[in-house]
Amino acid sequence: MDGVVQLQKQLVDYIASLFHEGFLDEQFNQLQQLQDESNPDFVVEVVSLFFEDSERLLNELAKALEQETIDFRKVDAHVHQFKGSSSSIGAHRVQNVCITFRNYCEEQNVEGVEPWHRCLKCLQQVKHEYSLVRNKLETLFQLEKQIIAAGGSLPAT
């Protein structure tokens, strides 16, 4: 059972590092607490919904920023949604870049190329943070799967 114990320790340390580095916040703990024997896949399910929804929002944002005339209210609406969903799963850094993004959208009555550049940059940052946290969470879920496959149980939150 040595292998399982090691995996469990690895998982605990990994999760701790994700919190420490700000990828996840307290809300992720809340999600884990809602998971139990009757809903053993709750966290994976919610996070999967988040991944799907995020891909959709990133596509919408890219489209919106490709337009001749950018509708900043539309951009803001998408970012607002993204901010909300990332907050709901505890994806802290994604949430933060969304907040910054929205601040830029709010100052958009200026003509010219500058606002568009800043928005594009924001979008890049959101994409970047999103793919980082996605990788981290997928790694986390993999670890959990390995533990369960080896007959172990997941550490209590």
Partner: protein, 224 residues
């Protein structure tokens, strides 16, 4: 006719975000409530059997042709920011309807805007939760739902009104209800005041909330 009241409470949750619907559903089911989720205010009104044309004229709930039985909802919890009909619009429509206005309504929002909060409370919302909603928030719903079981829908919101024919075992719950009502009335009159005992989660109280073990970061850059 179960003795347990929890199993009979039915909550209608309204949110355009699929993630948030999943979350609120789990939170509510954890508390043993029956849950229906819809993704818009329009669908909520449809589910409640309310149609645009017969809002405040009917005394009895209008039954939608799709429902074969009366829909029994004990509480409506709705997101504020939704495309089309906002949570505030939905709240107003519910309060304007003679058949629905006694159903307690709770608003959720990811944004802490004091004027928004006051407006919702003044319009008749029982609570205003900041997102992400937690189990500690959902635990505060029960007293509001108990009110709908104890109260005669035609009655005004007065204290010390004894219901005839109510079982004696409910007297403890009635006390809780009166306390809650008193608190509600205080909140309605003084929307600006900080209510440390009402546990309304506002950003100002973030660092003070007893049920958090880690400080919450809201809009601050991460310190690594």
């Amino acid at each position: 006719m179960g003795m347990s009241m929890e199993s009979q409470f039915h909550v209608l949750a309204v949110d355009d975000s699929i993630i948030d619907r999943k979350l609120i559903e789990r939170l509510l089911k954890t508390s043993s409530y029956q849950v229906t989720t819809v993704d818009s205010g329009t669908k909520a009104l449809e589910f409640l059997g309310l149609h645009e044309d017969d809002q405040s004229n009917t005394e009895t709930p209008s039954v939608s042709p799709n429902n074969h039985q009366e829909v029994d909802v004990n509480l409506i919890i709705t997101d504020y920011c939704m495309p089309g009909m906002t949570g505030y619009d939905l709240l107003r429509k519910i309060k304007e309807s003679s058949s629905l206005r006694d159903i307690p309504v709770v608003i959720m929002s990811s944004e802490n805007v004091p004027s928004r909060i006051s407006r919702c409370l003044e319009e008749g919302a029982e609570e205003f939760f900041l997102k992400p909603v937690r189990l500690s928030d959902v635990n505060r719903l029960r007293p509001h739902m108990m009110k709908t079981k104890l109260k005669d829908p035609k009655q005004d919101n007065e204290e010390n009104k004894e219901e005839s024919g109510k079982p004696v075992s409910r007297s403890l719950e009635e006390k809780e209800e009166q306390q809650q009502q008193h608190q509600q009335q205080q909140l309605h009159r003084l929307p600006q005041q900080q209510h440390s005992n009402s546990n309304k989660r506002k950003a100002l109280e973030e660092g003070l909330s007893p049920d958090r073990t880690r400080p919450r970061y809201n809009g601050l850059t991460t310190v690594v």
